[in-house]
Symmetry: C2
Subunit: 627 residues, 2 copies
């Protein structure tokens, strides 16, 4: 908010012809002030270079809320915020407060680190969402003007720059802008950014060289080649085989690739998306639906390196994985995409927020020892309890916009088909010819695998309703009205026919506890198992099982005796799993001793849904348990 106000002041002065010299700069760029002081200098920029995006994400989340729950007070607040954003926009269309405040002569000189195009992306997402929610286009026009400003400067013509975003999101946001406005140039710009990425010479080196020239410093290419990997700029995107680098950026990029592949029919790009999807889901996906095995670069680690305690598994990365999954579903409706989307949403994304919605995880490890988090520098990125906020607060508003728009993940459609991917209580409409079908989904998910879709229609209408058969279900019963044709394909049950008022489809996917093991290449999980039930991944928590969870074992002989037990945490109902287990005795105090079979006592291990952990104070947690 502060930065937009400061930028609006700059703009006002500029329009009055009263713009002074920009503020003092450091030798390598501009000063930023990490924290908002109590008495901020009204003319100064505060926070991260990408601070604008928090504001955009808030507008976007508010838009989703307004779409479902109209609220004039909230809408007025958003309109005021939008006025402020528009007031900060330069006449050229440029709209990044960091440069507007600090000096626009350096705009677009550091795409690698300074996140202007990332700011454009979030602005476009917010603008499109608010337009779709309210029909108001003031922010949309501002976003288009900023996009036009970028599109003028970046592109294939000789006089245009050949850059691309350092932090991806503009790729998919420009597609959204294209879909809302119908302006082909936004799709073309997205495709341009995709195709420029990873080409040689590296644009990020070129711009660094130019900056150095301007500043009279020696310019060198980036000394660390991993830096390109970090940005997914190590190879042209069409040649990429493995999901690498910063995990959030990666899935944002892949989402944009999938969007462009869908809209342009680009088979090469689509094949790259499929390869990258496979790289993630076959080699780099936590059983919690999280991604990003290492905090070094907040990145994907090498294949099958899925450490539990040092995991990064950023909340935003799981959100981004859901973005990617939904776009893969749009490219090709296969249940495997929805399975992973569901896994990410119901586990890591939900874990990102406390049950009361008031505190957040940025990092989502699969094993936590609070004492170790405090004592061990290797775990300094791991919080054993959720935090109220973060200096870099990307995750909380990202959860808000995901939760607000979850319907778009539950359902996709084309002219004649509506796909149900996630089973959640909802009401929706589907145009079928001239008829509007009004559909009501009742669901007992995620605790019971029962769902029922009821059709209301003034006149009978022909269309296909497709229902995902979850990958975790070992049996399914789907009951459809007589005369509806059923075809199962790629994990979906397609029901095609004439739908009448009152028709219903009942779905039953029995949920039982499953004991899962990891691929043997995941070294850390050899000899361990994890429990899942339906879409939910479970964990042991100290609150239910005492400390020293590493001494708990599943009993391989009685492993099938898991019982589902209704319970409540933080006032929310959920299903716990009770499983016969063993607890090893701690033994004597010696550091090393001769082997003797461990003394064990039979215990009942109590598992709770992973997303619900750390809602009862600080304690140990682990997903993977010895067997």
């Amino acid at each position: 908010m502060h930065n937009f106000r400061a930028a609006a002041r700059v703009m006002e002065k500029k329009r009055r012809g009263a713009a002074g010299a920009p503020p003092d700069r450091g030798p390598q760029g501009f000063q930023t002030t990490p924290e908002d002081p109590r008495n901020p200098d009204p003319d100064r920029f505060y926070g991260f270079v990408f601070q604008d995006t928090d504001f955009s994400k808030w507008i976007e989340a508010a838009a989703y809320s307004l779409a479902q729950h109209p609220d004039p007070d909230l809408e007025r607040t958003v309109d005021e915020a939008i006025d402020l954003v528009c007031a900060a926009q330069d006449d050229s269309g440029y709209l990044d407060t960091y440069y507007i405040i600090n000096g626009m002569d350096r705009a677009f000189t550091n795409l690698r680190d300074h996140h202007e195009l990332y700011c454009l992306g979030h602005l476009a997402e917010a603008a499109a969402a608010y337009y779709q929610a309210t029909g108001k286009d003031r922010l949309l026009r501002a976003a288009c003007r900023f996009a036009d400003c970028v599109e003028e400067r970046f592109g294939p013509s000789p006089e245009q720059r050949k850059g691309y975003p350092g932090h991806e999101i503009a790729e998919m946001a420009l597609v959204r802008l294209y879909e809302v406005t119908g302006e082909d140039r936004y799709l073309a710009l997205s495709k341009f950014f995709l195709d420029q990425r990873g080409t040689r010479p590296h644009y990020f080196d070129e711009e660094a060289r130019k900056r150095a020239e301007v500043e009279g410093r020696p310019g060198r290419p980036d000394a660390d080649p991993r830096r390109y990997v970090y940005h997914q700029a190590h190879l042209p995107v069409r040649e990429q085989e493995e999901a690498v680098g910063h995990a959030v950026r990666a899935v944002y990029l892949y989402s944009g690739m999938a969007d462009v592949a869908r809209l342009t029919g680009d088979r090469e790009l689509r094949a790259a998306c499929e390869r990258l999807w496979n790289s993630i889901t076959r080699e780099k996906l936590y059983i919690t639906g999280g991604i990003g095995g290492t905090r070094h670069g907040e990145a994907f680690s090498y294949p099958f390196d899925l450490p539990n305690d040092t995991a990064y598994s950023e909340t935003c990365a799981a959100i981004g994985l859901a973005f990617f999954a939904r776009r893969m579903l749009e490219l090709s409706p296969k249940a495997e995409y929805a399975d992973v989307m569901e896994q990410a949403l119901y586990n890591t994304v939900l874990a990102g927020m406390a049950l009361d919605g008031k505190s957040f995880f940025y990092v989502n490890p699969l094993e936590v020892h609070p004492a170790a988090c405090r004592a061990d520098a290797r775990l300094e990125h791991v919080d054993p309890v959720r935090q109220k906020w973060f200096g870099c607060a990307c995750c909380p508003p990202n959860i808000a916009r995901m939760v607000g728009s979850v319907a778009a993940y539950a359902y996709t459609e084309n002219e004649d088909t509506l796909w149900t991917h996630l089973y959640m209580g909802s009401e929706l409409t589907k145009k079928a010819g001239d008829t509007l079908l009004r559909l009501t989904m009742e669901s007992a998910f995620p605790w019971e695998g029962r769902a029922k879709l009821t059709v209301r229609a003034e006149t009978p209408a022909v269309c296909t309703l497709a229902f995902r058969i979850p990958g975790w279900s070992t049996a399914s019963t789907i009951t459809a009205p007589d005369g509806v044709r059923r075809e199962d394909r790629d994990g979906y049950c397609y029901l095609t026919g004439t739908w009448h008022d009152g028709d219903a489809v009942s779905l039953e996917f029995p949920m039982t506890a499953r004991v899962r093991t990891a691929n043997r290449k995941v070294r850390e999980n050899v000899g361990k198992a994890a429990l899942t039930r339906g879409p939910i991944t479970y964990c042991l928590e100290q609150a239910d099982n005492g400390a020293d969870l590493h001494l708990c074992r599943l009993d391989p002989v009685r492993i099938s005796e898991a019982e589902s037990v209704p319970a409540e945490i933080g006032g929310r109902p959920l299903v716990m799993l009770e499983v016969p287990g063993l607890r090893e005795e701690a033994g004597d105090d010696s550091l090393y001793r001769d082997y003797a079979p461990a003394k064990r006592k039979a215990v009942t291990l109590r598992f709770i849904p992973y997303y619900a952990w750390a809602n009862r104070g600080e304690g140990e947690m682990r997903v993977w348990v010895r067997i």
Copy 2:
């Protein structure tokens, strides 16, 4: 060598009254050049601020070699080196080339980081060793003059500074200087340094404040309190309970504390040594005798945190642990000290060097996957093969001086007793009254637990010969001449009586493979076991067992069937262990799947001594194996 030459030029100019201005300085100190270029500037300092110590360590190692194998050529080379060192010494006695070259007005202004007193320590160790080996005192006098220069400036008088070394070693080196020269002031200075450490206000903050004043910068106390822990300066040493911080520095400090406790009879200091010893050996010691669980600060981690793959376990730290152990033995001859000393020397210290003596490990992990070392930033400190040298080359010359002086670890004595701690082929003498006993130790260690000590004496003599009964031996047979009285105490067999020419003591400690487990608090080793045999800790290597060592398991039913098999690696004989084991099949390609008992096939697991790993090319290794 270069720096001593450059410093000698400075001194020569100074004596001629021709000293110019010191070279340009950076704002925070001096320029150092990390690597020696091909055409070095003869007037410039190169390398780390503590570069002098490499030279001192080389002289010390050469001295030990000369003591055992006289070599006029080597002695001449050392004498020339000593001439150079002496030529670099300032008239004040000051002798650290970093400040001599860069400007002595800043000497002793940054004890925390600039390692002058560390340089003094290594110089004193070298000087004492060379004096003891050759009787030549030129370097000893130089070291004393430097020590006197320090002693004049640091001490309890109001006008003296209250500092202490940032990197410990001066504490024990000054004791050695005291023992060689008989000058009480060196012992007093050592004790002063010990007692100053950890007092408030923190000296390192005070000196930082003064530096800031001089340089016109704002001075602030160290923002990170872990910084004090890193230097073992978080508490007065007498109050310390837990071994913390940089592991090498820690055990160097504790060694100095044990020295001073022994020579002054200081019971409080001794009690602190015992507590710190217990902290290491009961909670922080790898089964390889290594210490330092984390690369962050190259430091001890929290109790029972002994990760295998990310271990630091620096070679120098294991050497320092042997220093500490030997000094604890001198304080109080208990076999537990010698057990740990042996464990460190035969495993991590030996592992620090290739079997051909030509390459070195700095870091000694207990589990290595070469591909992970390359791909994972968390393992960037781990080399999967030994390196020819290091930028910071502390370890290789430290191994050289340890190997050269190992006799001092095998035996200690007082007037009437000679203790044998380590069984290695050796010849030595023991004064017993007026008689000189000539003793020959023949030993089959470390492969067989047989040793025999034969006495040569011109006239019979009374004394006590004490022999360690290794902690790893479950049975022992010690055969002594008739009439010698045997008493067992603290893990030593004391044989007291009159020794005649030709008397012999035979010792037999049967060595068998032992299967060891770690305390259950060592989370990483739950469900795993390690093999030892006598003093040797074993490991699995890919060369003998194929890749994917994490799929290998010991068979708990047949665990006692380990066979010792003579073998050879790199032309060196050793004993391998062959143990019935199981290898799990890798399974299908899916990342997660339903639990099914793993398919296993019976295999023979082949273990080699840990110290011999990575002598047959690059491959996986692990000490702790699933059971």
